[in-house]
C-alpha cells in the first residue's frame, strides 16, 4: 500500500527525504497523499504550494505541479493560482511559523474571502528549519533557543484563529492519529471554501530536546495519551483540556466561495 502511494505520488529520485530522524512531518505528508488518493484527485488538476521551513520542503518530494515559495507567502501565491485557474484544486502545505507568524495576515484574509484553498499546517510548535526558535504555537512557558528562560508569548490556536477570520472548515489532527487525520484532510479538500487542517507534528530534535519531552517514541506516546476527540472534549470543562490536543473536525459552515463570486462578476461585466 505504502509502496503504491510512493510510486504514484512521490518523486522517487529525491528520496529519502531530508527531515530528521523522528520528525512527524513524513507521517503527515503521507496522510495528505493518502487523502488525495482516497478522493481520487487527478494529479493534473491539483497544484501544491508551500512556503519556507522544514514542513514546506514537502512539496519537493511530491510528483505534482509544486511550488515552494517564500517564507509566509504560500497562501498569497495560492490565491493568485486559484484566481487564475479556479478549476484547479489548490493545497497549501505550511508550518506554524510560516502560516501564523510571517504569513498570518495572508491566512486570515484568505479565510475572510473564503477562497477554495485547503491549508495543511504542519504544527511542530517550533521553528524547525532555523534551529528551534519559538513560534506562535510554542506554548507559554516552553523553552526554545530564543526563549532560554521560557517563553512569555501566549500561543495561537490556529483553527480558532482561522474560524474567527472566516474559514468555513477547520480541523485538527495529529501525527499519531493517522486514519483520523487523513479523513480530516479529505473532508477539507472536498469542502468548497477556505479550509484549514492543523496537523500537530513532533519535533524531537528541537522542541522535544529543549523541553525534555523525550525522543520520537515518547512524543508520539504523549500525543496518543493527551489527544482528546472533539466530540468528547465538548463534554469536558475547558480547564481540564488545558495542555491537551483536541482533534477532529472542529468547524464547518457554508458561505459563498470567492472565485465563484468572481465568476459572477465576470459574467455581469462581459459585453453581451
Amino acid at each position: 500500500m505504502a509502496g503504491r502511494l510512493i510510486d504514484k505520488y512521490m518523486r522517487g529520485m529525491y528520496l529519502p527525504h531530508k527531515w530528521c530522524a523522528g520528525c512527524g512531518n513524513g507521517i503527515i505528508l503521507r496522510d495528505v497523499i493518502q487523502a488525495v488518493d482516497n478522493l481520487g484527485l487527478e494529479k493534473r488538476d491539483t497544484i501544491i504550494v508551500s512556503g519556507i521551513g522544514c514542513s514546506s520542503r514537502a512539496v519537493g518530494y511530491l510528483d505534482f505541479d509544486t511550488i515552494h515559495t517564500t517564507h509566509g507567502r504560500a497562501i498569497a501565491f495560492a490565491t493568485g493560482i486559484k484566481m487564475a485557474r479556479p478549476d484547479m484544486k489548490v493545497i497549501v502545505l505550511t508550518g506554524d511559523g510560516d502560516a501564523a507568524a510571517i504569513g498570518g495576515n495572508h491566512l486570515i484574509h484568505a479565510a475572510r474571502r473564503n477562497i477554495d484553498i485547503t491549508v495543511v499546517v504542519f504544527n511542530n510548535n517550533i521553528y524547525g528549519m532555523t534551529g528551534g526558535q519559538f513560534s506562535p504555537t510554542t506554548p507559554a512557558g516552553a523553552y526554545a533557543s530564543t526563549a532560554p528562560y521560557g517563553s512569555i508569548d501566549p500561543d495561537f490556536d490556529i483553527p480558532a484563529l482561522a474560524k474567527a477570520a472566516g474559514a468555513t472548515y477547520t480541523a485538527r489532527g495529529t501525527a499519531y492519529h493517522v486514519l483520523q487525520t487523513t479523513k480530516l484532510i479529505e473532508a477539507a479538500i472536498l469542502h468548497e471554501g477556505f479550509s484549514v487542517v492543523e496537523c500537530v507534528s513532533i519535533c524531537p530534535t528541537y522542541y522535544g530536546r529543549r523541553n525534555r519531552k523525550g525522543g520520537a517514541v515518547e512524543m508520539m506516546k504523549w500525543q496518543r495519551d493527551n489527544a482528546v476527540p472533539v466530540e468528547q472534549a465538548r463534554k469536558i470543562p475547558p480547564a481540564e483540556l488545558e495542555g491537551k490536543i483536541v482533534y477532529g473536525g472542529l468547524w464547518r459552515c457554508e458561505r459563498p466561495e470567492y472565485t465563484r463570486q468572481y465568476e459572477a462578476i465576470i459574467n455581469s461585466a462581459l459585453p453581451e
Binding site: 494529479k43 519537493g60 515552494h68 515559495t69 517564500t70 487564475a84 465576470i266 461585466a269 462581459l270
Partner: protein
Amino acid sequence: MTERRRMLLQGNEAVVEGALAAGMRFFAGYPITPSTEIAERCALRLPQVGGRFIQMEDELAGIAAVIGASVVGVKAMTATSGPGFSLMQENIGYAALAEIPCVIVDVQRAGPSTGLPTSPSQGDYMQARWGTHGDHPVIVISPSSVQEAYIETIRSFNLSERLRVPVILLMDEIIGHLYEGIELPDADEVEILDRLTKDDPRQAELPYDIVPGELAPRMTPFGQGVFYNITGLIHDDRGFPTSSPEIADRQCRRIMKKIDLNSGQIGRYEELYMEDAGVCVVSFGGAARSAQAAVEAAHRDGYRVGFFRPVTVWPFPEEAFYEICGRVSDVIVAELNYGQMKLEAERIAAGRCRVRHIGKVDGTILGPEEIYKEIQEAAG
C-alpha cells in the same frame, strides 16, 4: 474598428490599457498613491475581458498572487509606489530566480519612508535595479509620456514573457497623473509576444533546460500534466533544490546573461540634437519633459546642446552613451533624486567628460529654467 483610436488618458490608465492589449488577465495589488488608479481601472476593466482582479491584504501578497497567476500561464501585473515597492522586493527576487514572468509598476513618489505621498520623485531608480537581495536580473523601463506609458507597458510584458524576468515599469507621479491624448494602435500594429512553451513533454519535465540557441528556458504552465517543481532555492534543470557550487554558478551566470547578452534588444533610448552637441543633457521619465524643454530652448538660443533620454533605464543604454561621453565636454544628469542615475552616467563616462548633476529632493518638479541655467554654465 477604429472608433477608440484616440483617447484622453492619464498615464496610470494608459498603463492598464497597454497591459490589457499585451494580454494581461490578472492583477493583484494594494492601493497606494500615486499608483491607485491602476488598481481601480484594473478592477473595472479586467472582468470585461474575462480577466480577474483581486485587492490583496498588502503588497507582499500582491506580488505573490501575481507570480502565482503567472505560474499557471496567465499574464499578470501589480502596481504600487515606494513603501509598497519596498515590501515587494523579496518576491521580485523570487521571480528573477525562478524565472516567472511578471510586470511590476512602481509609480514613484518622494521618499524615504512614507515621504511625500503625492509628490513627484525618481528616488527608486537604484532600488528598481538592486532592491532585492542577491545578484539578480531585472529590466527597468521608464516612460516619459502617456503614449509611451501605453507602448512601453506592452513592451514590458513582451520582454518579461520572452526572457522570463520581472520587468519593472518605473513610472513617476508626473507621468502617472498626467492626462494626454494618445493614439491607440490597431491590434495588428503592435507586436504581442507570449512566452514560449515546451511542446516535447520529455523536455517539459526538465523545466529549466534550455533549447539550444535560446536564452531562457521555455515554460510549461502548471496544470498541463507535466509535474515539475518551482522554487526560490538554487535549483537544477528539474527545478529541484541543490547546493552544488557548479550548478549555482551556472544558474546565477545564466540568468544574468539573459540581460547582458540581450541588451541591444532590451535597450531603448531617444536622442535629440546630439550630432554636433558639446553638452548632453541626460534625463528620464517625468523629469525628461522639463529637460527636453530646456534643451529645445537652449538649442533655439544657439547653444550646442543635445539630449539623451534612456527609456530602458536598466540596463542603461551603455553603448550609445559611452560614445556620447567620448565627444562632449559635459554631461548634465537631471533627475528627481539625490544623484542616482548620475552614478551610472559617471561609471560609463569614466572620466572622459565632466558629469554635472541637477537633482531635486523636495517633492517639486524640475523647471526647464533650472536646467537651462546649468546648460549655460556648462557651455560657457
